[in-house]
Amino acid sequence: MRLGLLIDTDLCTACEACSVACRQWHEEQAAGDQPPRQMSADVWPLRVRQFELVRASAKDNGRAAQPLNMPMGCLHCEEPACRKVCPTGAISKRWADGIVLIDADVCTGCGLCALACPYGVCELDSASGTMVKCSLCMPAGAEHGPNGAACVQACPTQAIQMGDFDDPSSAVARAAQQRGARALLGERGYRPTSRYLMPPARETGPLDGAEVAGPALRELVQVLLDRSSTL
């Protein structure tokens, strides 16, 4: 089993609900039975990177721009660079499901994992002096709940899906296969489990209501217009 996230950048609106839910989960997890402990302000185990993507286009002077939002947490690499450099062996890859975990009890906060990770997703919580990163909302030794990770549940557009990339019949594996999901920095030898679906190229131009909204919205607009004319 190889659990990971499939992130559809075309659906992500950068609302950052995933970031907030992720941080909240980590605060509750670190507190245990105690009231949630606030992590340092800079600590976001899942961050949404926001870009403007400009492509060649037939319209608009040959260039078309569109947003590209990338929620990015730990990608749970098959051979994690962070695990190799950890001097205390605090980082492990759970072979049963492929999740990369940090054992906070033996992390010294040396920061080498942050330096080794090419995605910049290991965060230092200066409040506890230990490193924090995405664990797919699975505390060490626990099995996964039926609803998946906090970010998956929080995403209003279902841009984040979680599943087993080793199972060809799983939704994430099929979608990744059909839409050519990207393994970030694969060309440099990194093998992340989590993948990204890139947005398809779109032509931009003046918004056409009929084209964008579809028939249902057109009908709704028509009903509202009819009512307003009767007032």
């Binding site: 990177r49 870009f51 920061g111 910049g120 002096g129 694969g186």
Partner: protein
């Protein structure tokens, strides 16, 4: 933003200490006579430099009690070889000193060779902690792996000129080639580093030719442990003033000061002390620049 000073001080201070141990023991093996008072003082200073480096590195650990945790768990991971080899230098030095006092010459030679080997291994292990990080392409090179140990030996050789006025000409004969070699390796490293850049994120996202990405905002995506603590991400070639200061302090000034040193020269010790101070200041700046100029792969998500 602040550079990783604990790490910078550790490499320079421990490097100087390890280099001193290696060169002093080598000199003792070649000389063969009973060590002088100055030699003992120099060995003590070397151990102090290594200790200072270790203490500096311990402050890098953010967790309270992290140093002891690191030692307890050090057998678990290969990256802790640096710590283990640095700590092993202390008992090995003790064994060598005991051999000098009580053991016959063959045992002294065996212990001395083992101590030199251990000091060199510790130097390499310390270097590889940086040179083994693949996420910083400019660090991961042979020139980086060789430059740091050579610099450590260089600083030790320059310090020996100041410590041993009587043996200054011999120490100078070792220090000058090491200064030249370290300068060459540093220049080679810069030549390599400028070719080992970080691509634009568009490349790894598989975007078509001609497509480009621009970071829209720097809200909570920009600050983390790497940008805050580990490096400045200035990029190679943007800090020319500091780079020239580094070359002058670390290599050129010590070289110029050591050239006139001889047994007859009155100011050999003074020149040696100034050369050592300049060399250490230059190496601190050199390590600082290694963090400041390095570009981490994750910077492609922040640009």
């Amino acid at each position: 933003m602040k550079p990783s000073w604990p790490r910078i001080i550790q490499i320079v201070s421990s490097g100087l200490g390890l280099g001193l141990i290696a060169l002093l023991v080598l000199a003792r093996l070649a000389h063969g006579q009973a060590p002088s008072q100055r030699w003992w003082t120099a060995i003590g200073a070397a151990l102090l430099y290594i200790t200072a480096g270790l203490l500096a590195a311990a402050t890098q650990l953010r967790r309270r009690g992290g140093f002891w945790l690191m030692l307890r768990r050090s057998w678990r991971a290969r990256w802790s070889r640096e710590w283990l080899s640095l700590l092993a230098v202390f008992p090995m030095t003790g064994a060598y000193i005991a051999a000098l006092q009580y053991a016959p010459r063959p045992v002294q030679i065996g212990c001395g060779i083992a101590l030199i080997g251990l000091a060199l291994i510790a130097l390499l292990a310390m270097t590889m902690t940086q040179a083994g990080i693949a996420a910083v392409p400019s660090w991961r090179s042979l020139s980086m792996g060789v430059a740091v140990p050579v610099q450590a030996l260089m600083s030790a050789a320059v310090a020996i000129v100041a410590m041993f006025p009587a043996g200054a000409p011999i120490a100078r004969a070792i220090a000058l080639p090491l200064l030249f070699a370290a300068l060459m390796f540093k220049l080679l490293h810069y030549a390599n580093a400028s070719r080992r850049g970080v691509d634009d994120a568009a490349a790894t996202l598989g975007l078509p030719v001609g497509a480009s990405l621009r970071r829209l905002e720097r809200s909570r995506g920009s600050r983390n442990v790497i940008t805050h603590d580990m490096m400045f991400d200035q990029g190679y070639g943007k800090l020319w003033g500091r780079r020239l200061s580094m070359f002058a302090l670390a290599y050129l000034i010590p070289f110029a000061l050591l050239v006139p040193v001889s047994a007859e020269f009155r100011y050999s010790t003074l020149f040696g002390i100034v050369a050592t101070a300049s060399c250490i200041a230059g190496l601190l700046l050199e390590r600082w620049l290694s963090y400041a100029e390095a570009r981490h792969l994750s910077s492609m998500w922040r640009r």
